[in-house]
Structure formats: structure tokens, C-alpha cells
Symmetry: C2
Subunit: 152 residues, 2 copies
């Protein structure tokens, strides 16, 4: 993989943050994601849809993956997400050979990104204050819904 | 978890096999799954929908999980699948605390079920000849489609 400069990582994260804000505005869980191709093309974007669609299978990352449609290969693609990916979404990244994950924050939730790093996935952790603030507020105000979304 | 007798495991597997056959009849990848509750209630069932819906996020297990809708807890539930779950679907099982996985076969594809067993999930591997035959024929006749579905 080529080196991902901080400016590009931040620009890509902004797409995921926009998705998270849209989800929050719909009354949903504010987690957003986007899948970028090797050449920087946006392949798909989405946000958690548990509340909006009553669909527990649509985490932000799976929504972005679905939006990208069928792809022959995920080699050199980057999954960008506002929050550290849970085991479900980490499993997605590993199974499909997504090469890199850009993560907004891993303070409010620490998912499977260390496991992904061990298995050769490049992890870019940004520690973004807006992502942290958005999730911290949401979890504080909706603990039951948050626990439902991560199966706790 | 209570002991799962072979007769119940086979009956539950038949639901997943029926889903796989439906998928095959639709021109899709023949993998089916069903999620059963602690009391043996069928919570949801589904099959791989990559071809039918152009949706790479709908593996059999995620389709059954989605069909079950929002659940407060997956404790003591059983995911039944015709094929060893890939990393994506294994991650689903681990994240949501699904307690048991009944697997039709792990001959044509060996996914993440050993990892699940290490993390306390009860694995029931049935080595079912019909499941093996259905996948073997499918992979032989559709190698590109199968590789696409597992990201290879």
C-alpha cells in the first residue's frame, strides 16, 4: 500500500462523519463509514441503520460495503469509519481482504482493529475529537440502544 | 447451554438446507442459515443474496440475523448454517454473543469456527453429505462467483 497522508485520511474521515451526522439526524446511532478504492474513488458510504430500518445487520461499515455493490477484489481498498470496528465489521474487513482501515476514534469503543493489524491490515487511528464527542454524548443519552447495537 | 440432541440439530439444519436450495433455485450461491431462540423458536432464516440482490453483505448468516430483527440479547440463541461461517459471519456470532453454531459442513470451506470455539461458542459440526455435495457442485461450476463471495 502507498503511504496515506494525514490530509487525505482527514478528508476521507469527513465523509464518514457526514454519514454519522445524517444517522443522528434520523434518530439513529451516529456511526458512519465509507469505502475508498485504491485510486481514491469513493466506492460506497453509509451509516448504522438499526433504528431507521429496524435492521441490526446494518452497521456503518456493512452499509458502506453494501453500497459499494459487488466488487471483484477489495485489495488496496480502505474502509473509513468513525468508530473502531466491532468484531462483526472487523470480520468483514478480514474476510474480504480490505487492505486498510481509517478509524475516527477508539476511545468510546475498542473493537477488533488490533486483531486486524496482527493479520496485516494497515490501521490508521486518528483520535478525532468530533467523533469522540458525538459517540460519548450518544452513549450517555442512549445506553440501552448502544448496548443493543454491540450485543451487550 | 443445554445439550443439543442430534435429532434437533438435524431438524434445524433442514431449515438452513431448504434456504440454500431456494437460493440455488434463484440462481444464487447455495448457502442457507437460520437463527433459533433459546426455546427452539425460529427467529429468522435466510440465504446468500449476492447474485439475487447484487448485495455482497448478505451472506446466509447475516440474512438470517437480519430477518430476526432487533433482539435485546442473543444469549442462548443458535445460528444454524449449511457451511462453516467465514470471518465476516464468525465476527457477527462473536460480537452479538450468539451462544452456539450448528454447521452443515466444513469440508468445502473452513471458516472461523475454531476461533469461535476458542472464544466460548459451542460448535456442532454435522458433516452433512447433502451440504457437502451442494457446495462441491456449486464451486466446481462457478469458481469465480464463489471466490468473489469469500473475497479471494
Amino acid at each position: 500500500m502507498e503511504f496515506l497522508d494525514q490530509a487525505t485520511a482527514r478528508t476521507w474521515l469527513a465523509t464518514a462523519v457526514e454519514e454519522a451526522r445524517t444517522g443522528l439526524g434520523e434518530g439513529g446511532i451516529p456511526i458512519g463509514a465509507a469505502l475508498y478504492g485504491a485510486d481514491g474513488t469513493l466506492l460506497g458510504r453509509g451509516h448504522n441503520r438499526r433504528v431507521q430500518d429496524g435492521d441490526p445487520s446494518m452497521h456503518a461499515e456493512t452499509a458502506a460495503f453494501r453500497a459499494a455493490g459487488r466488487q471483484r477484489s477489495y485489495s488496496r481498498t480502505t474502509m473509513v469509519t468513525t468508530l473502531s470496528p466491532c468484531w462483526y465489521c472487523s470480520g468483514l474487513v478480514r474476510q474480504f481482504g480490505i487492505s486498510r482501515v481509517v478509524i475516527g476514534e477508539a476511545v468510546t469503543f475498542h473493537g477488533g482493529h488490533d486483531w486486524l493489524a496482527e493479520h496485516g491490515v494497515e490501521i490508521v487511528l486518528l483520535d478525532d475529537p468530533e467523533c469522540i464527542g458525538m459517540m460519548r454524548d450518544f452513549i450517555e443519552n442512549n445506553p440501552a440502544l448502544w448496548n443493543e447495537d454491540i450485543g451487550e
